[in-house]
Amino acid sequence: MNWLLNNYESIPFYLFTHLRLSILPIAIGFVLALPLGWLAWRFQVTRGLLLTLVGLLYTIPSLALFALLPPLLGLPYLSEANVEIALTIYAVALMARSAADAFGSVDPGVRQSAVAMGYGTWRRIWEVELPLAGPVLLAGLRVVAVSTVALVTVGVLVGVQSLGFYFTDGSQRQIPFEVFTGVVLTMLLALAIDGLLVLLGRALMPWARPSKRRPMNRWIRALGTGKVAEAVR
């Protein structure tokens, strides 16, 4: 506790750096994964190939990737860009499969109906398939977000500061409470971003909320609350 009283002033800095480092890989990874996922969903041949490839990317150990990128891309060893690029790769690897599943989750009947209405291909993808893939995309994005926030901490080992600093500093100085604080703050940050994504999803996809009018649901709920007469109405 003493440690916290003496060091709380450093928390906002590491918290915001951590947040800043997390957002870019999540956002870019999401955007890059969309076309990959669509291609994987649309063409049988690309599906196996693409998903295996991105799956392999995810198996590269993060520390190794942080260390390998600078010589590969000609970046300075201590640059934040190393961590950002590595985390984007992981985000794409995780997200591409979700995106493929998401496009696969679109009701083929609705897709056909869009074709029958006279939607051109691009407009159909943009205005029908993408929004309808939304709920499954969001589920995938939430996993990516939480995993990215956790992975950012590893960056501290290659000199990129974040809440991960408390892990290394705490273990070197043998202050378990400092490590514990870092873990809690990382988890809180992950939960906050996750919650924000859920709210964003609700705002953008009001149609995806569970229907109030499904007769079965209404009955089941009515039985629970004893308001059967109301449900019959």
């Binding site: 109906s113 209405m117 929004p131």
Partner: protein, 278 residues
């Protein structure tokens, strides 16, 4: 007029869904393609808006070979109503109805105004305009589907088993609605169903199909019932049995018509008509 000329369709997997099909569909009337699954009826319907392109033969609309028309443009001028309504679940009712006008560049306000009018036309309360499709009953969804099909006032309306998934009472209501709309609007409707009763009720002309899109018989309901082309047709329309095989029974001084299941179907009007009419 829609005309099929020697149309065949072989799918990529080798199935011959339609084999040498020819038919003229007259304008401003309802033509029903009826047959069991595998008869190619839906494939034929989808050839009219190029959802399916024939492997052989041509389809013409008013003398124009539609293979030369850009599919997206063609589809925007042909209404389409499908089973399970095919509504876009992420669009409100009003936006679903306005879909095609919006695609063709009609300003939003005008498209919405027209959509509200169409809700009146198909018997939907305007208060439902802001709902999402999953907040409507199956019957209401189908009405939205019909309104959407009519939104650009197309000459041709394709209906692909539109009422297959709703319960019998709602289906009967919707069928009456289609009859009423057709009396008012006089569209060229091509309607696909496997339900012979629905075909007899809605069709000015009925085209009975067998496997491979082979036409077994065309004609009005009366013609088909009176002279089924063969045993298959007689069996399919139930002319030989059940509720269409009526016979007379005398009860007192009245003649009652009884169907093949023993259910009384009605009283013959010819004798003592004034009394019966009450």
């Amino acid at each position: 007029m829609i005309e099929f000329r020697e149309v065949s369709k072989r799918f990529a997997d080798g199935t011959l869904a339609v084999d040498g099909f020819s038919l003229q569909i007259p304008p401003h009337s309802t033509t029903v393609l009826v047959g069991s699954s595998g008869s190619g009826k839906t494939t034929l319907l989808r050839m009219i808006n190029r959802m399916v392109d024939p492997t052989e033969g041509t389809v013409e609309i008013d003398g124009e070979d539609i293979a030369t028309v850009e599919p997206v443009k063609l589809r925007r001028r042909i209404g389409y109503v499908m089973q399970n309504s095919g509504l876009l679940p992420h669009r409100r009712v009003i936006d679903n109805i306005a879909t095609v006008p919006r695609l063709t560049g009609v300003p939003k306000a005008a498209a919405h105004e027209r959509a509200l009018e169409l809700m009146d036309v198909v018997g939907l309360d305007r208060s439902l305009a802001r709902r999402y499709p999953n907040q409507l009953s199956g019957g209401q969804q189908q009405r939205v589907g019909v309104a959407r099909g009519l939104a650009v006032d197309p000459n041709i309306l394709l209906m692909d088993e539109p009422f297959g998934a709703v319960d019998p009472i709602v289906r009967a209501e919707l069928q009456q609605e289609v009859l009423r709309l057709q009396r008012e609007l006089g569209k060229t409707i091509v309607f696909v169903t496997h339900d012979i009763d629905e075909a007899f009720l809605l069709g000015d002309r009925i085209v009975l199909l067998e496997t491979g899109g082979r036409i077994v018989q065309t004609g009005t309901a009366e013609e088909i019932l009176a002279e089924p082309a063969n045993d298959f047709v007689a069996e399919f329309v139930g002319a030989a049995r059940g509720k269409r095989a009526l016979h007379e029974e005398r009860i007192g001084d009245r003649t009652v018509l009884v169907d093949g299941l023993g259910q009384p179907a009605g009283v013959l009007d010819s004798e003592g008509g004034s009394e019966a009419g009450g």
